[in-house]
C-alpha cells in the first residue's frame, strides 16, 4: 500500500512535538558521557606529539605503579587482524586500518595518534598516569600538503600501499592510495567544439564535523567475556561490529546500547574509544569510561578532506556546456579512504553533459584519518564546480539560474558516474528559486548575490523495525537507528498514519543490539527512507494481524474485515453487522485470539531517491576588514515528502550554517612541525547565532515512488551548495573571485587590497 496522496494523510506532514523532546529540554536525556556504572574507572589516552614517528618503546611500569591506576593498555594487547576480516557488513571499512587508527602500531602517523591508555579511579589520577607512560620515538620526515604527498620523493606513510586503480600495478609504494576515473563521451572533442573555455584551480581545507558532544563511552567486560558498551555513536551495530573485530571478541558477547547522540554529521560512524575502553575494562575487571576532550576531538577524529581541484568547462556562446573535466585530489589523512569517489560522482551530477572526464586521487598525509562529513566529498567538488559554473555564467553574460536550467539534469539524463535519473526534482528547485521573493529584492553597495546547486545520492540499506501493540492498545515501535535529529518523531508518525491512530498513541524506541535486528548506521540521509520503510511495513503487518483478530472475535473471514481510522470494520453489509473494534478492544482480547500482537520487519531498502537543491545567498562585504556578513539565505530542496516538515527545514538550515562556516571561517591550521594549532572552538571558528540570518527554506516535493510516503533523504544535500553560493555572492559584491577556502577576513582583505589599484584605475 502506498500513501503518496498527500491529501489523504492525517499525521504525516504535520508538526507534532517530538517524543524525546521533554527529556532534551529539561536535561534528563542521557548522552554518551552521562552514563555511570558502579565501580567505574576513568580512562585517558596517551597521544603522539609527533606528526610522524617510529615508536621505539612504550614503558608503562611507572604508570602502573601510581596508586589508583588499575590498568594500562598498549598496542601489544590488540590482535593483528588477518586480511579476510578487513571488512564488515554492507559498509566496508578497512578494519586493520581502523585498528591501527585506534591504537598506533609501529609508527605514529599524525599528531594525536593514540599510543597507549590508562584507567584509574579518578580522571585526575588517570591524567597524572599519562605523564608516567614513557614512549620513545624516532621522529620521521612527514608530509601535510596533498600535492607534496603525491610527489615521488615524498615521505611515505605506509610501505605496503600501491596506488590502486592504475594498470599495471605500480612497482613502488606511494601515498596515492587510489585513482578513480569517470568518463562519458569525448572531452577533447567537446572542448574543440566550445566557444568559451574556463579552467580554474580551487582549494579547500580540512574542516571538522564539530558536533558539540565529544566522543564518549562506558565499556564493561565480564570475566566470561560478556560485554556491555554504552556509547554515543551513529550506529550501535557499527560499534558492536567494529569493536568485536578490533578486540577479537564474538559479536554475541557484545551488547551495544545507544546513548543519545550529541551530533555526528558522519563523524561518529567509526569507533575510536570503545576498543580501548574494552581492553582497559578487560584488564582491570571494572567498567571503564572514556570521554574525549575537545582538543582530542580535533586532533584525533574526523575531519573531512582538504583538497585541490582543477576544473575545466567548455561552452557554446548560447550557454550550452559541451565539455566538463575535473581532477580532484583529496586528503585521506593517515589511512586511505577520503570521500574522493563521491566527490567525483557528485561534482557534475546536477548537469546534463555530453562529455565528462573526472579523475580523483585518494592521498595520504600525516593528518588524522578523515571521517565522513555530511554528503562526504560532494561539498568539496561542488565548491569547485559551482564556482566555475558561476565564472562561466559571468563570462557568457548569462543569468546563473538560467545557465543551470539550460544545462540541468532532468528525468532521463544519464550522469557520468552511471545512473539515469528518474523522478528527480532538480529543475523544480530552479523554477522554485526563480519564483522566490528573495530573488526579486534589490541589493545595496558592497552587497552581492550568489547561486549554487547541489546533489547527493542518499542511501538505503539494511534496517529493522518492530511494531508492538501493547495490552491497552497503545503502540511501541522499536527501531535500530540512533536518533540524531528528530527521527523518532518521523518513525512514530509513519506508524500512526498506517494504524490510523493519534501520534502520541505510538511511542518510538531506539533499541540496543539485543532488542532489534541489525540496522545499518544513521548516515547517508537513510533513516527516514530505509528506517521509515521498515517501520511502515511493520505497522502494515500489524494491521493485517489486527484484521485477523477482529475476524476471530466476530467469527467471520479476515477478508471481510477492513481497517481504517484506527478501527476494524466489517467490509460491507455481507460481512455482518458489528460495532467497530479499536486497537484497545482487540488488544484486550489478544490472549484469546492468538496471543501478543507484534510484527518485526527486516529489509535491505533500495530505491532511495537522489536529493537535489538550489541555494540563494546574499552577502555584504566590509571592505575595511574583509568580513563577510550573510544578509539573507534561501535554500530550495526537493525533499520527496516531508514527513515532519519542521525537522526537514531544520536539516536544510543546519546544513546551510555548516556550509557557511566551511566557506568563511573553518579550517585546520598546522604549524611547521605538523602540529595542529587550533584544536578548540576559540580558534576553530564555527558559526554562532550572531553570524547567521534566518534561513528561508522552500521544500519542493517530488515524491519518491520507492518509499511508501514518498520520502527521500534530506539531511546531507543542504551542505553541498553553500561554499560556492557564498563565493559567488562575494564575486558579485566585489568583482573578486576567491577560489581558496575559507574566505576568511585576512584572505578577502588581501584580495581586496590587491585589487584596489585596479578598481581605482577603473573608476
Amino acid at each position: 500500500m502506498s500513501y503518496l496522496e498527500k491529501e489523504s494523510l492525517k499525521v504525516v506532514g504535520t508538526r507534532p512535538i517530538r517524543p524525546d523532546g521533554v527529556d532534551k529540554v529539561t536535561g534528563r536525556a542521557n548522552f554518551g558521557a552521562d552514563m555511570v556504572m558502579p565501580g567505574m574507572l576513568w580512562g585517558k589516552i596517551k597521544r603522539s606529539p609527533h606528526a610522524h614517528a617510529r615508536i621505539l618503546s612504550v614503558k608503562t611500569d611507572k604508570a602502573m605503579a601510581l596508586p589508583g591506576v588499575k590498568a594500562v593498555t598498549t598496542r601489544a594487547d590488540f590482535p593483528d587482524i588477518p586480511p579476510d576480516k578487513r571488512s564488515i557488513g554492507a559498509a566496508p571499512a578497512n578494519l586493520w586500518d581502523l585498528s591501527r587508527n585506534c591504537m598506533a602500531k609501529g609508527k605514529a602517523l599524525y599528531e594525536g595518534h593514540a599510543v597507549a591508555a590508562v584507567a584509574a579511579v579518578s580522571p585526575a589520577i588517570a591524567e597524572e598516569a599519562l605523564d608516567l607512560i614513557e614512549v620513545e620515538y624516532e621522529p620521521l620526515p612527514y608530509v601535510m600538503d596533498v600535492e607534496a604527498a603525491m610527489m615521488p620523493d615524498a615521505p611515505l606513510l605506509h610501505d605496503d600501499i600501491f596506488t590502486s586503480g592504475v594498470d599495471p600495478k605500480p612497482a613502488k609504494p606511494s601515498n596515492v592510495a587510489k585513482m578513480i576515473r569517470y568518463a562519458k563521451g569525448d572531452v577533447e572533442a567537446g572542448f574543440a567544439e566550445a566557444d568559451t573555455i574556463i579552467e580554474r584551480r580551487y582549494t579547500t581545507k580540512p574542516v571538522h564535523q564539530a558536533y558539540i558532544e565529544p566522543h564518549a563511552c562506558v565499556v564493561s567486560v565480564g570475566s566470561d567475556g560478556q560485554t556491555t558498551i554504552w556509547s554515543s555513536s551513529q550506529g550501535q551495530f557499527m560499534v558492536r561490529g567494529y569493536t568485536s573485530r578490533i578486540v577479537g571478541a564474538d559479536i554475541a558477547n557484545i551488547r551495544a546500547i545507544p546513548a543519545e547522540i550529541g551530533g555526528g554529521f558522519g563523524g561518529k560512524t567509526i569507533v575510536y574509544l570503545e576498543p580501548i575502553a574494552y581492553m582497559l575494562s578487560k584488564k582491570s575487571g571494572r567498567p571503564v569510561k572514556i570521554v574525549m576532550s575537545r582538543e582530542e576531538v580535533f586532533r584525533a577524529t574526523g575531519p573531512t578532506s582538504g583538497a585541490v581541484i582543477d576544473v575545466k568547462l567548455g561552452a557554446k556562446n548560447d550557454g550550452r556546456i559541451v565539455s566538463a573535466q575535473a581532477v580532484l585530489k583529496y586528503q585521506s589523512g593517515a589511512f586511505p579512504g577520503s570521500p574522493v569517489n563521491q566527490g567525483c560522482m557528485c561534482g557534475f551530477a546536477m548537469y546534463d553533459l555530453p562529455n565528462v572526464l573526472v579523475t580523483g586521487y585518494d592521498v595520504l598525509s600525516n593528518r588524522p584519518k578523515v571521517a565522513a562529513y555530511r554528503a562526504p566529498g560532494a561539498p568539496i567538488a561542488s565548491f569547485a564546480v559551482e564556482s566555475c559554473v558561476d565564472e562561466l555564467a559571468r563570462e557568457l553574460g548569462i543569468d546563473a539560474l538560467e545557465l543551470r536550467r539550460m544545462n540541468g539534469a532532468k528525468d532521463g539524463t544519464k550522469a557520468a558516474h552511471g545512473p539515469t535519473w528518474v523522478n528527480i526534482g532538480y529543475q523544480k528547485t530552479i523554477e522554485a528559486a526563480k519564483a522566490t521573493e528573495h530573488l526579486g529584492t534589490r541589493l545595496g553597495p558592497n552587497q552581492g548575490r550568489g547561486i549554487a546547486s547541489g546533489y547527493w545520492h542518499n542511501a538505503g540499506g539494511e534496517s529493522s523495525a518492530a511494531c508492538h501493540v501493547n495490552e491497552d492498545g497503545t503502540v511501541t515501535v522499536t527501531e535500530g537507528h540512533p536518533d540524531i535529529g528528530g527521527s523518532r518523531a518521523s518513525m512514530a508518525m509513519m506508524v500512526a498514519e498506517v494504524l490510523g491512530v493519534p501520534f502520541d498513541q505510538v511511542r518510538p524506541v531506539v533499541g540496543d543490539t539485543t532488542a532489534i535486528g541489525f540496522s545499518a548506521s544513521t548516515g547517508g540521509s537513510r533513516v527516514t527512507f530505509a528506517g521509515g520503510m521498515a517501520v511502515t511495513q511493520s505497522a502494515q503487518k500489524v494491521v493485517e494481524e489486527l484484521k485477523k483478530r477482529a475476524a476471530v472475535m466476530w467469527d467471520i473471514s479476515p477478508e471481510a474485515v477492513e481497517w481504517h481510522d484506527g478501527k476494524a470494520f466489517p467490509a460491507g453489509a455481507n460481512a455482518g453487522s458489528f460495532d467497530p473494534l479499536s486497537l484497545a478492544d482487540i488488544a484486550s482480547k489478544a490472549a484469546r485470539t492468538g496471543g501478543p500482537i507484534s510484527a518485526e520487519v527486516q529489509i535491505n531498502a533500495q530505491g532511495q531517491g537522489p536529493g537535489f537543491t538550489t541555494h540563494i545567498c546574499d552577502v555584504e562585504v566590509d571592505r575595511e576588514t574583509g568580513h563577510v556578513k550573510i544578509l539573507r539565505y534561501t535554500a530550495i530542496q526537493d525533499v520527496g515528502r516531508a514527513i515532519h516538515p519542521s525537522y526537514v527545514e531544520g536539516q536544510m538550515q543546519g546544513g546551510v550554517a555548516q556550509g557557511v562556516g566551511w566557506a568563511l571561517s573553518e579550517e585546520y591550521i598546522y604549524d611547521k612541525d605538523g602540529r595542529l594549532e587550533n584544536p578548540g572552538f576559540l580558534d576553530y571558528r564555527v558559526p554562532v547565532a550572531s553570524d547567521m540570518p534566518m534561513i528561508d527554506t522552500v521544500m519542493v516535493e517530488v515524491p519518491n515512488p520507492r518509499h511508501p510516503f514518498g520520502a527521500r533523504g534530506v539531511g546531507e544535500v543542504p551542505i553541498v551548495p553553500p561554499m560556492a553560493a557564498v563565493a559567488n555572492a562575494i564575486a558579485d559584491a566585489t568583482g573578486i573571485r576567491l577560489r581558496d577556502l575559507p574566505m576568511s577576513p585576512p584572505r578577502l582583505l588581501a584580495a581586496l587590497d590587491d585589487s584596489e589599484p585596479l578598481r581605482q584605475a577603473a573608476e
Binding site: 536535561g27 558536533y211 565529544p214 525537522y647 550554517a657 572552538f681
Partner: protein, 161 residues
C-alpha cells in the same frame, strides 16, 4: 589531597558537597551531584553547553571551580521547569523544533531563560548576540531564535505587557 567542603544553593535547594581543588563546577554538577543536564562540549568556555545561572548571571560552569560555588545561588537546566510545568522557553523549543540532537539544548535553555529574566522584549539581533556564546551545530540557529522570541511574546502576554 584534601577536599574542599562547599555549601551552596542549587535550584533552590541547599546543597553541600566535597570537591577536589581542581574540579570545576561542571565536574561537580555532573560527577558529584549527578546533575548531568549541564553538558561538557569544550571545557574552555567556548561552546556554552555547560551554561548555568550563578547569582543571576549566565556562567560557563566549566570555567568556574567547584570551590567557588561557596555561598552562591546556582540554577541549572534541571531547575528551569517548575515541577512538571515547562518554562515557556522549553515549551517553545519543543513547538518550534529548535533542537535536533539536543546536546547544546540545556545550555541554550538556561541562556535564553536568563535573557528573558533580564529583557522580556528582545529584538532578533539582541537575541542572536546574547546567544552567541552557545554553539549549536545542528539547527543553524533559525528555529532557536524564533523559539526564544516566541517565548518572550508568551511571557509578555502572561505579564500583561
Amino acid at each position: 589531597m584534601a577536599k574542599h567542603h562547599v555549601s551552596t544553593t542549587i535550584n533552590g535547594e541547599p546543597v553541600e558537597f566535597l570537591c577536589e581543588p581542581q574540579q570545576t563546577l561542571l565536574d561537580v554538577l555532573r560527577d558529584e551531584l549527578n546533575l548531568t543536564g549541564s553538558k561538557e562540549g569544550c571545557s574552555s568556555g567556548d561552546c556554552g553547553a555547560c551554561t548555568v545561572i550563578c547569582d543571576g548571571r549566565i556562567t560557563c560552569s566549566c570555567l568556574m571551580l567547584g570551590a567557588e560555588a561557596e555561598g552562591r545561588t546556582i540554577q541549572t537546566v534541571e531547575g528551569i521547569a517548575q515541577g512538571d510545568k515547562l518554562h515557556p522557553v522549553q515549551q517553545k523549543f519543543l513547538e518550534h523544533a529548535a533542537l535536533q540532537c539536543g546536546f547544546c539544548t540545556p545550555g541554550f535553555i538556561v541562556a535564553a531563560k536568563a535573557l528573558l529574566d533580564e529583557n522580556l522584549n528582545p529584538t532578533e539581533e539582541e537575541t542572536r548576540y546574547w546567544l552567541a556564546g552557545n554553539l549549536c551545530r545542528c539547527t543553524g540557529y533559525d528555529k532557536i531564535v524564533r523559539a526564544v522570541l516566541d517565548a518572550a511574546a508568551v511571557m509578555r502576554a502572561e505579564a500583561g505587557r
